[in-house]
Structure formats: C-alpha cells, structure tokens
Symmetry: D2
Subunit: 345 residues, 4 copies
C-alpha cells in the first residue's frame, strides 16, 4: 500500500483526489492537512464521502507528511515549493496539482504568479506530469508538476500535429471552455450560481496563466516557433472542459491520414480516445472519469483543421492525472483505480 498525504484537501481537486483514492486498491490515505479545519472529519465537509473516507483534517504540524510515500499538494500556488524540499529530502515523492513545478522558465512563473520562485533547485529536476508525452520521466521523478486543465487538452490536441510538422505552429488558436468547478471552491461573486448559471462569457482573454505552461511544453515538440492564442470561457456546468483547437495545415494531407496520425499517436493510451473523424464529443461523455476524447474536423475546401478535445477538468484535467502519475511513479499499472465509467446522463 502506498501511504498518501494530501496538503490542502478542502478544495475541489482535494475532494476529487479523495474520491479517486477511496477506491484505489493500493492507496492508503494517511493524512490530509488543513490548518483551518484541524480535527474536522473530511466527511463532515463533504457528505458524499460519509462512510467512505474516515480521516479528519489535521494541522500541518500533526500530519507527519514525511512518513508518507507520496504527498499531493492541492493548494494555491506557492505552497508546494515551500514544503517540497523537506519532503523530498525525507524520501517522499511530491505531486503538485498547482503550478509551482510546471514552468521551467522561472521568469515566466514570476511574471504570471506574482511571486518569486523559492525552490529552483527542485524545479530543475521536476517533471511535467503529462503521461502521454512524458511517461518515462514521470516513472523516475521525485517531483511532479501536474499539468493545468486547459494545458492538458491543448497539448494532447496539438501534439500529433506539431510532432508531424504539418501545421503552422506560429498561429495556433485554442478557444477553450470550462465548467465552473475549474475556478475552484473560491468565494468570488462571479462564481455564484445566480451569476454563472444560464449565462456564458469569456475571461482572461488578454492573458491567462495557463498560456506560458502550454507554450513551453508545445515548444518541446517542434523546432518551429510556437505562437498560441488562448481564449478561455466559462460554461454554466459543474465539470467538463471543451477545447476547440484551430491549426492551419501547411502540407497536403488527406483526412484519412490526419485521422491515422492521431489514432497512431494514442493507440496505446488508456485515457485518450480518438473518436471517428467528424464526431462531436460532449463533455459529459467524460464526467467523473479520467478519459479525454478527441475528434477531428476539416471544414469544407479549406486547409484549417479543427480539433475538438473534451475531458473532465477535475479528473484528467487534475486529480485523475495526478493519480495516473502516482501509478507510474510507484510501478503500478497506469490505470489502477482510474477505471471509472463516465456518469451519463
């Protein structure tokens, strides 16, 4: 059994980790920290876990995280980098669901997150936790920067095209839509039901924190200079993410070959489903599961390829992906504990 600690389990990525780990056959939840909720049984905050998760929140001091095999950080940025060095020194693996270990470009981190990076040594060895593109490095990593939700969809949607060198890398567009849980359990007027329901809007169009991480990773896939316009939107739904990706083809290629390119790229992936050419994936087809689905479109008489990508932002876009990384790091089958069938309708 893997002894597991969670730092900051009161938010949505935290409770989603708990949901997944509760039925993971190799997981033994040892500690979950919350200074504010010290002593409160987790199931009192989240009645969905009544009878399934017995632990209580504990203050960081009591939590004995250094006795864990792995610690997940489901915290705001800045927390993981302050605690990771001590844990790693104690032999504990660290998986950060926040951005502290995602961006190798420290200047970019500091620009977008408005704080100095205090743990650049560990950052250098940290591995970006996207198994489909980074599997081998994850297996031996001590520190994982778990990808953001939007970046997961953009990378898995653009990767085969950039690797094949068949699109204009400098002019990519990602028009992305997220359910409201992507904003976390944060108290902000804009996320109130009466504000966010029955409405739709873009946000952060002039700049969003998930952009630099995505560009940095995409740049590893091509020698061409990557340029990306990323437009996030808020959808009145709880979970789910839909990215509509636009890439201009620079080579003649048939639709069948495009389809084959994607099917080949992901044929052994347990959590990437390439749907038939021209399909319209729905976010709900991934609800509660670690599956990400992709479909290709080529509007008539045109060299523009449209790639549709859907996932559950809290699973493949966050906590599920983190457990997928954990499985790899501990030599388990990658899909252990992650075979939830999507809840539909």
């Amino acid at each position: 059994m893997i002894k597991i600690g969670i730092v900051g389990g009161t938010g949505y990525t935290g409770v989603e980790l708990l949901r997944i780990l509760a039925t993971h056959p190799q997981a033994q939840l040892t500690a979950i920290t919350s200074r504010k909720e010290d002593g409160l049984p987790v199931a009192d905050m989240y009645p969905s876990l009544r009878g399934r998760v017995d632990v209580a929140f504990s203050s960081p001091e009591k939590a004995k995280l250094h006795e864990c095999d792995v610690v997940f950080f489901a915290t705001p940025h800045g927390v993981a980098m302050s605690q990771a060095p001590e844990l790693v020194a104690a032999g504990v693996k660290v998986i950060d669901l926040a951005p502290d270990f995602r961006l190798q470009d420290v200047a970019q981190f500091e620009k977008w997150y408005g704080m100095p990076h205090t743990c650049t040594d560990l950052l250098k060895e940290a591995v970006y936790g996207l198994p489909e593109l980074n599997r081998e490095a994850i297996k031996t990593a001590r520190v994982i920067g778990n990808p953001g939700c939007y970046p997961t969809t953009m990378q898995l949607g653009f990767a085969p095209l950039l690797k094949a060198g068949i699109v204009d890398a400098a002019n990519l567009i990602a028009d992305c839509k997220s359910g409201v849980s992507g904003a976390g359990r944060k108290l902000d007027v804009g996320y109130l039901f009466a504000e966010a329901s029955d409405s739709f809007k873009a946000y952060g169009v002039s700049g969003h924190r998930h952009l630099p991480e995505t560009v940095e990773q995409l740049q590893h896939l091509t020698k061409d200079k990557v340029g990306l316009i990323f437009t996030p939107h808020l959808v009145p739904m709880i979970r789910g993410m839909h990215s509509t990706l636009y890439a201009r083809l620079t080579k003649e290629i048939s639709n069948a070959d495009l389809q084959a390119l994607f099917e080949d790229a992901y044929k052994d992936e347990p959590f990437v489903d390439v749907m038939p050419f021209g399909a319209h994936p729905e976010t709900r087809s991934t609800r509660g599961s670690n599956m990400l689905r992709i479909a290709l479109h080529r509007p008539a008489d045109c060299n523009m390829l449209v790639v549709l990508v859907v996932q559950d932002n809290l699973v493949k876009g966050s906590s599920g992906q983190a457990v997928q990384c954990m499985n790899l790091m501990f030599g388990l089958d990658e899909s252990t504990g992650l075979m939830h069938v999507p809840v539909m309708p």
Copy 2:
C-alpha cells in the same frame, strides 16, 4: 460470472445498468436488445461507454436471452410481463425495472397503467425488490419487481415510523422532487432543456402511478390504515431525488429516541445513511452512487416530524437497486460492484 441480458437498454435505466455492470466483477453482459437499434454498438449511442462496453444492440430474436442467468427489463410497462413467463420457465431470473411486477393488486395495476395484467401467475410469486425491507424474499425470488424511484424514498423514510406505530398512518404527506432523468429519455416537449431548465413545477398532483405501489407496501408495515398524499415535482437537475416527508407523531417521543429509531433500523444497511438529527442532505451527495441518505427534523414546539430523504434516482432509485437485488439473488455480497463514491461536485 453471471450471464446477463438486458431488454430495452436504450433508455436511462438501461445505460445506467451498463455503467454499473461494466465494473461489476461478477457480471458478464451477454445480450442487450433493441429492435430499432439492432446491430448498433452500444457505445455508438452512448459514447461514455466507448472502450468499456463492447456489445451491440441486437433484435430480441437474436439475443438468446434464455441462455442468460438473469435478464433485466429496462422497458416501458407491459413488456416484462409478456416475456417473463418463457424466461422463468427456462430457468432465467427476471428483474423488471418497470411496474409489471410491483403491484400485487391487479385492479390497481390495470387502473393506473391502462392495460390488463397478462401474467398474474408470476405476479403472485414476484418479490418487491426493496432489499432493506424484503431481503430474505429477494434472495430466493425468480421474479423481482424493482421499486420505483419515488417509492424507494417514501418507504425507507416512513418505514421505521410505521413499524414503531408512532405516527398517524392515515395522514402521511410526501412532497417529492425529482431530477429530469426520472422521466426517462422520452421525447416530450416538457422535458426539453429550454422548457425544464431554470424552472420548477409540480406534476401529477391529482394522481401519480407511484402512489398505489407505495401505499400497498407501506400497508404491510402497520395495522393502521395508510393514507398518503404524494406530490411529485420536477427539479431542473439531471439526477437526484429529494423527498420531504411529513408524519404527525401520535406518541410522546424525544428527538434522540427518534434518531435512535432510525439509526437502529438501518445500522447494518450498506446503502442507507442516517445523518445527524437536523442535517440537510443534498441530492448531489449521492450522485452516481447507490447511497440513500436520511435526516430527521422536528420544527419547534410541534408534533410534526419531517423526514428528508435523498438518493440518485437512477441508482438507488432504479438500476443500482436492481443490481443490489441481483447480488442477493446470486449469493454475492450485496454491495458487489456498487461501491461508487458519489461524484461531487
């Protein structure tokens, strides 16, 4: 492995059976029938099942249901009673998610469903599939009438009170609220998103088909004459059911004793959670799971007890309960394949 057939798997109870059975360790889905969709892979209709359910719909003629160990009917009323005799004769157990085998009072069946009952012999031996009240009979049954969604909440909420003889059985009120999936995948203008979203209404206030079944079952629990006002409402949510039950106490009893009564009644039940006195269960705390939660309230200075009951109408209210019955019928642990943690948020 239990060889399983499903008749009429294109609706919500059908796809929910498929979701549950896909990870049930003892279930082997052998056939799923749909005359209209013969040959269509199930996953083409329900992309959420891509990679998880391999079977295709087949016409009833090809389905070889008589070779199954058990056949679930996820069909409109009238279908199960026409096919059950032949299956039972072939040694196949039958679990009907529709009402054909719920009501022992044939006149009531014919009044509410507008058709003659053509299988009264089997009806006589059929067992009402509510494990918490009927466990032993289910274990040896050949035919199960799986309870309706509303009746499950009303029975489990009222049962301890009626058994204890401490409420006015003649004047029970159940004000019940259901998510829209309760109406099935039926094409009806009133269930369109643009009609049912952002609105709330009652329906069937003058009379609803789930009333006679509930009264018949409740009557088994008390010698007093049961009278029940049942008011169903439609909630703009997909899954979930919330029943607010009103019962007038006829004996002096403390809140602590009431709470103890319920906790005792359900203390060994894997799928009934009695929450602390005064709690307000949310339907989402059961989403995607077979759990039903109950909480008691006693508005100040008053002999009226208010019982709040929540469940996922498609799981404990339908397909999950059917699998719970199957487990009992085949000697498995009752919770086999049913330990999904609710998806929250």
Copy 3:
C-alpha cells in the same frame, strides 16, 4: 415624477428595483447609495443596465435622500430602522425590502434577527406591504414593511381558505422551493455554482425567519389559532419560487366551490392569476414579471387541499411588490411600470 432614492443597491433586490424603475414612467431615480462603491456607475457593476441607468453609487453622506419622495431600503436587516426616522421626519416615505418593519411582535423580531429593534415607534404605524390583503392601509402609509418572498406565496395561497374558515388553521404545511437568487448576492460557499447547481436540498427546516412574519399575518385572517410547518428548499434555478401548500378541509365543499372561492377573492387583482383547477403552474411562467399564479388540487378521495403558488421571487416576491406599494402610496394606477410580460423560455 416621483423622486426616488435607493439605499444599498448592490444586491439583487436593488438591481431589480433599478430594472423596474428604468422603464417606470413616473419614476426619477435620484440617488442610490453604497458606501463601498461610492462613485462607481451602477452600469459598471451591472452591465445589463448600460445605457439605461445613468446614476452612480454615492456614499450615504452625499446622497441627499431627504430630498427624495420615497426611499427604498434594499439592505440587510437593521439598516432601515436606523435611517427611517430621520427620513420620515423629513416627509420622505420609506419602503423597506428587509424585515425591519414587517413584524409587529418585537420579541419575535429580536429572537429571529438577533438584534434589538431600535425604532418601535415607527414600527407601530408601519404597514405590511401586501396590497392584495392590505391595500387601503398601504395607500396612506409612511413606512412600508415589504413582505418576504416566501410569505407572499404562503399568504396569498392560504388567505381565501382562512377567511372562509374552511380549513384546519392549526395544521397548515407549506413546502416551499426557491431559486438561488433568493439568498441574495451573498458570498457563501453553498451558493457557488459548483455547489448549488444540479442538486436540491432543504434548508432551515428547523426554523426560518420568514415563519413568524407569515404566522403573524395569517393570524389576522382567522379567529382560529394558526399553526404552520414551513419547509424551505433551494432549487438550482436563478429566479422563481414554488410553494406547495397543504390544508385540511374542515367543511364539505366541492372543487368547483373551492375554485370559485379563489377566483372571487382575486378577481380584481392585476397580479394574481388563479389558473384552472388542477393546473400545474411553472415558475418560469412568471419570470421577470410581477405576476403570481395559483392552482388548486384535491388528491382523490381526500379532504386535503393542495394549493400551488408560483412567483418570481425578485419581482412579486420583492422589488416588484415594493413598486406596487409605491404606486399605491403615490396615487398611481397600481400596475404602472409593472406590466412586463414574463420571459419565456
């Protein structure tokens, strides 16, 4: 033109007042106060008002409310009673959308709102602003306690029955359901989209602030002692309220006579619509309008009457009713500026 001031216009009842007053032919919005948002154009907070409302929020000091003809308080409890005396002394009429002037029983106010009532003199002359039951008194009032949203539905639903003396007044039940805007624009985790969407729950079952106000008013309609069980629920919709009322008939009376009783009671009311016997009103049929709709049901063979009442909680349940009162107080036609057709779908 009526010169109008609004205190505390940043919440939902405030912005709804602004929406209604923007097209009211006799209304001239003079000032709207918010200490926190001093100087901010109202339309910057509420873009729906761009081009339609030109005023900016101003601090109370600058607002010159004493020069208004009427001031609406769209504030938390406690504010109106602190400012009303000075305004009334200056000849300004006061309409409080909060509870300060609703409850004549000061002890009840203090019990439920946890603060002393500091303005009991004005309270004595204050008029409860439900035009259908209190029209003449409203016309000459200086201070109006505008009814709560739930109480409006309960009173208009029970009133004809209590006046006629045909129901058991001691055992009324109101099972009520409200859209989330009823909670205001308050930052509370439970009202976040990801918490309140796709779920349903009861709240305040053991006691809710709208109970004493309702009982006090209902008691004026009958010599029998009124007893009321009131169970509020939260519906995943923005606007809308549905109250399901249960009253036991104590006299023999036909359904036709019951229907006539209600039709007669409300035949001259511009904002009460008695639907045909057995109808199921939807909340959306009142969305954005000041209309309240009622329908009666009599479940078979039973002396229980079920009364269904729907309204838009922000209009007839709050700001629309306040404007209706204003119209009466200033001698205008009662429906002036209130003839919005419900927005449907």
Copy 4:
C-alpha cells in the same frame, strides 16, 4: 395601429414575437396561425401570456392574413416562400424569420436547405433585415429575410474591420456558442434537459446553414475574398449567444484606434453597445432585450484581434430584430416597443 399576423406561432420565435408585441404600443395582433392548434388560446399553450395575449391559434384558412399590414413567418424553411407572393400581391408586408429570403444565391439555398426555391422573383427584391448594415433598404422593403442568430453576431462583429480593410478577410474564424433555445422547440433527443444540461459540445463543425448567409453578406463589405471558419457550439443555457471572433490584422493599428473604429461605427445604434476595450461581456447582460454587446481584445504581442459579441438569440438574434425591421418599415421610431431592460440575474 399596425395589424399583425403571425404564421406558425407555436415555436420559440413565435412566442417571443408575442411577448414583444404584447407591449408594443402600435401593434395589434390580428391573427396567429397553427393548423394543428386551431382554436386553442395562445395563453393555454404559453401560460406566461395569460391575461396578456387574448388571441387563439387559428387555421390558415380562417386567419385572413391578407387583411394584415404585416405578416411574420415564424416557421420552418419553405413556408414563407410558398405564401409570400399572395400576401405581397395583397399589399401585405412580409417578414420571414426563417431562411427563405436571406440568401440571394439560390444555388446555395438549395444546397443547404435541400429544396428548390419556389419564389425567386420575390427573393430578388427581398431585403436582408439587419438594420445596422441595411437600414435604408429595410424602410422600403416589401419582403424581409430576417437574419439568423449566429449571422447577426458575426456580421456586426466583423463589419467595421472589413469595411476598414484592416484584416485578413480570407481567414476569419468565428467560434460561436448558443443557448439551447436556438434549436427551437423541436423534439430531438439531444435537446432534452437530461442530455443538454451540465454538458458542452460543438455541432455542425463540418458545415452549418448559417455559414453561406454570413459569407454572402460579409462579402458585400469588402473587395477581398471572404473566407470564414464557423464553429457552432451548444451551451447549457436557455437563451444567449456568444461569438468569439478571430481576425488577423493586416495593418499597424493601435488598440485605441480599433476601439474608436467600433465606437464610431455604432455610435448612433440603439441596439449595439460597444463596451470598453478588454471587457468580457456576458450573455445574461442581454437576456430578454434587443441589445447586442461587443468588446475587443488584443492578446499580447500579436496581430490577432479577438472580438467578443453577445446577444439574446431570441431577441436581437430573431424576434426582436424582426420587430426592429417592422418599426423601420412602418416609419416608427426604430426602438418602439423594444426597450426591455435585460433581466439580470
């Protein structure tokens, strides 16, 4: 008073016309046809209109449409072109909310709508009813092809850029999102609440009927060849449309000048609101109103302009725009009867 007929008023554009016309000071609804609902009072189908619209549906034979001043067609394609000639010959003006008179290119009409165009004579004189681009022609038109909902947003968002000749017209992208009411009141499984709620998807990515109409109109604004990728998506909300438009700038131009270009283009328009540069308009800020809002964004260091456009698809995107055209055709102030303040929240 303008005598008005409506053909096919049982759908959402029909009921929205009724809502608007019910408070239009110059409108007199004379007839509304529905063969199927002949004799049914409109308010029986749409209780939101109880007390506000007195007419009943009548069969086309009885409707005496030729005595009207104007007839709106809120019908599927093919109906208006079959009835318009007779009406126009009788001196009746025709406003078609369907596509029969939108596309001058008959081959395109026949390709996308799969039927021959039987009324090409009238089509030639028909005017495309987008007042902001076509005002003078509308004033004297006998037949109006009222624009589709998506096309309205795309045209008003791209028009200033194309007229100014500062973008790459051949490579426009429109990523558009619509509420479910855009699909009409059609019985289709995909629009059921339990299917469309809490999910998001694209549809018609390979080709959508609103594309040719948009390209045809945009082409009038520029000598460059227009190329447009149009990707529609379905949002789980009732009303509202959000178009995210991408255009590559071909000239050096400052953000201030871009903003000025749009503000100048629409400075006299009653129903186009150019928001501050960098704003994020929400669809709900237009709910129930005829207002369309636009905001510009320029992601850092980039020649890509992002234009955000929102509207209520049933008002400015359909019925409101049709009434706006009617006002122009009958010499009324353009905003007569259209000054609804958006319903928010």
